[in-house]
Symmetry: C2
Subunit: 140 residues, 2 copies
């Protein structure tokens, strides 16, 4: 835990203001895939003096500095992902919720073997239903 956020920001050339730290604390450690609006909601919970503009500014800054990736997987809903290593994504048809799928879970041929393209990044995007939890020991 508690990797030093202040340090992280500074290393990326971002001055660690209180507001930015508040945003970072949530968005750089979550495994949800929050939209800007959700970040605002979450962060203003504990930090009510934070404006919408600042959240957007901060998120864009983080993306630009490489601390965050933007995902566009559903209409009108840009979403942020602090997990920088390659991985795949599953999008639930009903809830829209996104799951990270480990790179190792799915063998994918190397697209850089395709002539004519130089691939910077790639991922499998899956859509469907998430099945009910296996219900291990909840029979009573």
């Amino acid at each position: 835990m508690a990797l030093d956020l202040q340090e992280t920001l500074r290393k990326s050339g971002i001055r660690p203001s209180a507001h930015r730290l508040a945003v970072a604390e949530y968005v750089l450690t979550t495994d949800e895939h929050p939209s800007a609006e959700r970040v605002l909601e979450r962060v203003t919970g504990r930090f009510p003096l934070l404006s919408r503009a600042t959240v957007y500014n901060t998120l864009n800054l983080f993306v630009q500095k490489g601390l965050l990736r933007e995902l566009v997987l559903a209409e009108g809903n840009v979403v942020f992902d602090p997990k920088l290593e390659p991985h795949h994504h599953f999008v639930d048809d009903e809830t829209g919720k996104i799951d990270d799928i480990p790179w190792s879970a799915l063998a994918v041929g190397d697209p850089n073997k395709m002539a004519g393209y130089q691939i910077r990044e790639y991922m499998v995007v899956m859509r469907g239903r998430k099945l009910g939890r296996p219900r291990v020991n909840k029979t009573r």
Copy 2:
């Protein structure tokens, strides 16, 4: 070519009005990946009496009836794809242009083997640069 569009619409339970046919003629046969705005532009070229609302209505209707798929690959840009068979997509970093990549071009492990998910569809999304055309015989 010239598969009977009127027939196609009717088979999907869509009454083939003139406007719908005009939209269909472009969007069901293109290999671009047009946004609604682009469809409007293209279709009003030859059919100036067509309103924005009708284009949006028609596109949504086509999607709902399964003649078209919606792709959301870039921010603020929903795009339509008449190619219904499974295939992958490449998005050019610079131009935003989308290429269809044949299913056969890339081996992908079956995600339905992953426990806990029932996958309805999946595709590889690749981003990067498209290299200059191979320049086969253009030396003079």
